[in-house]
Symmetry: C2
Subunit: 359 residues, 2 copies
């Protein structure tokens, strides 16, 4: 597949034109992903990607007194792990771009406070990793920073308490519901190549981004987030194809965040209607992260951490090993709060596309 | 004051070096603020700045059924007003960078959805306007966008319900408590000068930014946000002086977001200890926006909308009229949620500095 794609004429960023089409950027100086870290909870560790995470933590409290503090600790551990893997200190990082699902981003605020890095707090629900990587890449490409951390987290128990019901209520989960991933993923973006690559390992770069709009198809079910997010993924992926004048086969993989089984089918159908067949090269992080048969996770995984830890483990591994050459990473978010849901509002979606290449 | 400052040797951005000092950027192509809009609630309309807002809305529900929808409507009206003043359409805007105080940024998600503009959702509590303007300016300076909207909002009733007590509970407010502003402010940033300036009116540009870190002095009182935010404002302002090697008199005004009366004194004391005397040129949006004597607002105004509407009305007016030449605009945020507060956590602060100049 890589061989085939290398003949593709649409080399991104080749004409030094940053603004591409209606919603995209091609980077002139594509930022390097020089390190990444993924830390996950016990359930995620038991899933198909379990061996690929940097660390699996059995204690869902992460040694803390409450779920929110647990998630903060998880995010801090992940940022520190990424710094350690890159052999960098916190003072080497110009900006941290990060967010989480909790109201007022408290997992982030309390998690990264002691890192003492200038912060851009971002929120795009489960699309947040796409937003953080997009803004991080802009900061590095534009020479506003030499090194940036992009990071997100989510925690199953904190998210259930936040958005649905506290676990102690023992409520029933419909089959369309997704399971919020306990995990945090971080990438370090740099204007310089990694100095610690293995022999023959390619550079991993972010070549472009397509920034999403809010898309609202009127879904009102907070237990069916896949259906709410699929139209947003559709719009962003379609726009990416149009802006760069490319077809699905430009990419070896098109990786959505956490549509799950329900949302995946909707996405493929919506793109088919526009004559884009991504069925053979589509992958969804929410589907990959759990074994649906044995792990009772229903529609799949979700949460800011879902796409983040899948990208920082499995996706980067495939790119580093040359199995994939180009991917479009599209974390998807469902923009609801417990208040908006209880007031009967719809669940609008958003999806941010990040073009990642091994070269 | 302008005359004196024009002799100042520290012209920002003059050496085309984007990264300045530890935490700052000097823009090579300082983005123009070509339009701004401010829409406020009834109480803000009755305050000292009342005549300067584009619109004052008497109905605190903004024609909607609940407080959250009211705030969304307010933000939508404000974005549309800014577009109208700039004689632009939504399709002329490459990105909207915005946020609000509500959990999961629902005022923004539901407010700007129909504008159909690619969105970077941001959160920095009441510092959000500083973050939005910083990222918006980076996008324009770096040629990632020709035009960007930076926007924030807050609503008194929604914020009280979110962070403290629903209004119907009739709880008592201590004198250290601030009053969340009902208001939304938006600026349109552009790579080109405004075509609709009045004769003799200067261009207003963003020359640089200093991005804040999380600063936690251990304040635990959600009714005393000024004390929580003052240390963050102190760190950002001090860093701005150090990064650009300037003194307070570089600016005609140093404008904090919403420290209020309590936080203002703390800020001035903290800077005095470092031999920076800003007392003669400091202004706080939270103090300006209400008349403390007659409006019963205790420590002053707060909320994402406070600094946003003060900047978009009074501050820009002073710059356009040549009364001030250079200002440092430093919206300040208290990073708490109702959950973190109820769990006994501290209230960390953050402050983002934006350097604005009339030239």
């Amino acid at each position: 597949m890589s061989q085939k794609n290398s003949d593709n004429k649409h080399e991104v960023g080749i004409n030094n034109k940053k603004m591409v089409g209606k919603q995209s950027i091609a980077f002139e100086n594509p930022p390097y992903i020089i390190a990444a870290a993924s830390i996950a909870g016990k359930k995620e560790g038991e899933g198909p990607l379990g061996n690929l995470f940097d660390q699996v933590v059995e204690d869902s409290m992460f040694g803390q007194d409450n779920w929110e503090a647990a998630e903060s600790e998880l995010m801090k551990m992940t940022a520190q792990r990424a710094l350690m893997k890159a052999e960098l200190k916190n003072t080497d990082i110009r900006y941290l771009v990060g967010g989480d699902l909790l109201g007022q981003l408290i997992a982030t605020s309390f998690g990264i406070a002691e890192l003492n890095i200038p912060l851009f707090g971002v929120y795009g629900a489960c699309s947040t990793m796409g937003e953080a990587m997009s803004l991080g890449a802009i900061l590095v490409d534009g020479a506003y920073a030499k090194k940036v951390i992009a990071i997100t987290s989510s925690h199953f128990a904190g998210a259930e308490k936040q958005f649905r019901f506290p676990l102690d209520y023992g409520n029933q989960r419909p089959y369309s519901a997704s399971w919020t991933v306990t995990g945090s993923g971080a990438v370090i973006l740099s204007d310089q190549k990694s100095q610690k690559k293995k022999e023959g390992e390619p550079d991993i770069v972010i070549t472009g981004v397509t920034t999403g709009k809010i898309v609202d198809y009127g879904i009102k079910d907070s237990m069916n987030m896949g259906a709410a997010m699929a139209p947003a993924a559709f719009e962003t992926i379609k726009q990416n194809f149009e802006d760069f004048n490319i077809k699905p086969d430009y990419y070896d993989k098109i990786i959505t965040g956490d549509l799950g089984y329900v949302g995946k089918d909707i996405l493929i159908d919506l793109l088919n209607e526009k004559n884009y067949d991504i069925s053979k090269r589509h992958m969804d992080c929410g589907i990959e992260i759990y074994d649906q048969e044995t792990q009772d996770t229903h529609a799949g995984g979700s949460g800011c951490g879902c796409s983040a830890i899948t990208f920082c483990s499995y996706v980067l591994k495939q790119l580093k090993e040359g199995i994939w050459k180009r991917v479009l990473f599209v974390p998807t978010g469902a923009l609801l709060s417990q208040v908006s849901f209880n007031e009967g509002n719809t669940v609008p979606g958003i999806a941010h596309g990040v073009m990642v290449e091994a070269r």
